[in-house]
């Protein structure tokens, strides 16, 4: 099916409802459809080959997305925080694009293909634009540049059928009550930003965009707009928890559901958040750009059961990403491709209608439709999925495969630690040696020997970092992903050795 159908359905099912609110401005579902189809007509007339969106969340964002969809051209939201050179390179990769941008046009913009987002939005206030003709569900809907934490950024290809499969398979159409509102603070160029927009529109929920995230503004918006659902990335939740300090309650009674995902959540932050948001249901979602977002989730009941259980296996599920969504198949395989039983860690392979596994020019799906995520993890006996991190981050010390996540979790358990990373540096004797970098809690300075003793006692000596450094912060992407290569490069530079290739 085609994504245009989703907006059509929403406009016809609940056209009078407010679809999106940004600052003081709102648009209804019917208004969104009218402007989007007017945009489709304009895009068709100008014969552009794609629509690039460059900026923060705004009413023009869903219009540009659906306008491109209706015209049958790819929508390409770019990271507006990229440096000028990187941005120029990505714009160059889309020569025939209409570029809808925030503020001043980017350097080197050649005029008529560039349009300010407010001007673009205002120009579409015409009534009676015809719904676009039915389009090919196999057409490219979205090109999303992955964050490229382990290699140069590349564009993942999501076709209409992938995104529509995600919506039809996992969300309930029109299920939102009239008073429901979702606060979206993730950027528009991230798969979570796209998935948020689409699934909330499909549910008929009002979307409230927060232009730029800060914990105070987020909390104030939840209260003022009576937000019922929100999605955050772990670094945002950590900042909200930090901002609330010694408070006993977050003071957000309307908030029924808080979902998080995108990178690993520090257990201490999650426990503190569960206390502060006592009446809110927590949802941990796991997914990748290449899988049209969420493929597994840990729901509110799972969180409650894990918290209240005396059984260590059930309690451990607080650190899992939950169970697979319907329609998703998973295999855990070893390096030789053998399928492993529950309990044994290996590479995660996924299959399903929402799984694209495709980049511009190449599909990574094997002959049977399986996509190798390059994430490592395992299932427990009840089908709960535990993700241990990227296979490329695995440290090999003396022939032993070590997942840094396990060690980082122990370090993060220490009350004097707010962030931690463990990496492997080249070592003549062991191949790689473990080095930890820790961000101490404000005003504190934990004893490195004490931290090493903690890891040795919980895990074993081969997993104990040889050395622990203290930094003010760890390098992360805008969406909270840890930049391990940058950590390794900095450590190697400080020690006067070359970074590993």
């Amino acid at each position: 099916m085609h994504l245009g159908l989703v907006l059509d359905m929403a406009a016809s099912g609940f056209g009078d409802r407010t679809a999106v609110t940004v600052g003081g401005d709102s648009v209804t579902y019917a208004g969104l459809a009218e402007r989007s189809w007017a945009a489709s007509a304009q895009i068709g007339d100008r014969a552009v080959s794609s629509v690039v969106y460059l900026g923060t969340n705004h009413l023009a964002y869903p219009v540009a997305l659906f306008g491109a969809a209706g015209a049958g051209v790819p929508f390409v939201p770019l990271n507006y925080r990229l440096g000028a050179d990187q941005l120029a390179a990505q714009l160059e990769a889309h020569p025939g694009a209409l570029v809808v941008h925030e503020g001043e046009p980017p350097a080197g913009a050649d005029g008529d293909r560039f349009v300010g987002r407010q001007e673009f939005y205002d120009s579409l206030a015409v009534t009676g634009a015809a719904e676009p003709e039915a389009q090919d569900p196999d057409a490219t809907c979205l090109l999303l540049y992955t964050s490229g934490t382990t290699s140069a950024p590349k564009a993942a290809v999501l076709r209409h059928r992938h995104l529509v499969s995600y919506l039809f398979g996992t969300c309930e159409f029109g299920a939102a009550g009239h008073d429901e509102a979702a606060l979206v603070a993730v950027p528009p160029y991230h798969i979570a930003g796209v998935a948020n927009l689409l699934s909330n529109l499909y549910a008929g929920r009002r979307i409230v965009y927060l232009d730029r995230f800060d914990p105070e503004g987020w909390l104030r918006t939840v209260r003022e707009e009576r937000v019922t659902q929100a999605m955050v990335i772990p670094t945002m939740l950590a900042r909200i928890v930090e901002h609330l300090g010694e408070e006993t309650d977050a003071g957000t009674p309307s908030l029924a559901s808080l979902s998080y995902g995108g990178s690993r959540m520090a257990p201490a932050v999650l426990l503190r958040a569960l206390e502060l948001f006592g009446s809110t249901g927590f949802v941990n979602a796991y997914g990748l750009t290449e899988t049209s977002s969420t493929i597994a989730l840990l729901g509110p009941d799972d969180h409650r059961d894990a918290l209240s259980s005396a059984d260590p296996a059930v309690r451990a599920r607080l650190g899992s990403v939950g169970r697979l969504l319907p329609g998703i198949e998973l295999e855990v395989r070893d390096e030789a491709g053998r399928v492993l039983p529950p309990g044994e860690p290996g590479l995660l392979f996924l299959r399903g209608d929402q799984v694209s596994g495709e980049y511009t020019g190449t599909s990574l799906l094997d002959d049977d439709g399986w996509f190798c995520t390059r994430d490592r993890g395992h299932l427990d006996a009840e089908g709960y999925l535990f993700v241990e991190g990227r296979a490329d981050d695995t440290i090999i010390r003396g022939g032993e495969n070590i997942a840094p996540a396990e060690i980082e979790d122990v370090l993060l358990d220490h009350e004097g630690v707010v962030d931690a990373v463990v990496v492997g540096l080249p070592d003549d004797e062991w191949g790689q040696r473990l080095v930890g970098v820790v961000v101490p809690a404000e005003g504190g300075h934990p004893d490195p020997e004490e931290l090493r003793r903690l890891v040795r006692a919980r895990l074993r000596s081969s997993k104990t970092p040889e050395h622990i450094e203290f930094w003010d912060e760890l390098p992360r992407t805008d969406t909270g992903k840890l930049l391990r290569r940058t950590v390794i490069a900095r450590l190697a530079e400080a020690q006067g050795t070359a970074a590993p290739a």
């Binding site: 039809f168 029109g174 299920a175 979570a192 549910a203 999605m231 995902g261 949802v283």
Partner: protein, 101 residues
């Protein structure tokens, strides 16, 4: 009319609209309130719900028929029972997933 995934249909007896989520195995007659449903862009002659075909379709609910394997999603609520070849469609009940977005 050929029913494909994504085909949008409307009722000739009420405001009911549906979209085909899963196409039927073969050719079938999809009715609402006893009268054939038509393409979304058509303008059928409207009539009342036929006796014996009372019922209603609810927004966002899915309706299925075992023998033909068809599944439709109600995109606009309205009166009249949905049926395929005279067999009333059954409401598909599934526990909604928590919202992850």
């Amino acid at each position: 009319m050929e029913l494909k995934a994504g085909t949008q249909l409307k009722s000739a007896v009420s405001t009911t609209e549906v979209v085909v989520v899963k196409p039927p195995g073969g050719e079938v007659a999809l009715t609402c309130g006893g009268l054939p449903m038509v393409g979304k862009d058509e303008a059928p002659e409207m009539a009342g719900v036929q006796p014996g075909h009372e019922g209603a379709a609810l927004l966002g609910k899915r309706y299925v028929d075992g023998p033909s394997d068809i599944e439709v999603l109600c995109t606009k609520a309205g009166d009249g029972q949905l049926a395929v070849d005279g067999r009333p469609l059954e409401l598909k009940t599934a526990k909604p997933l928590p919202s992850s977005d």
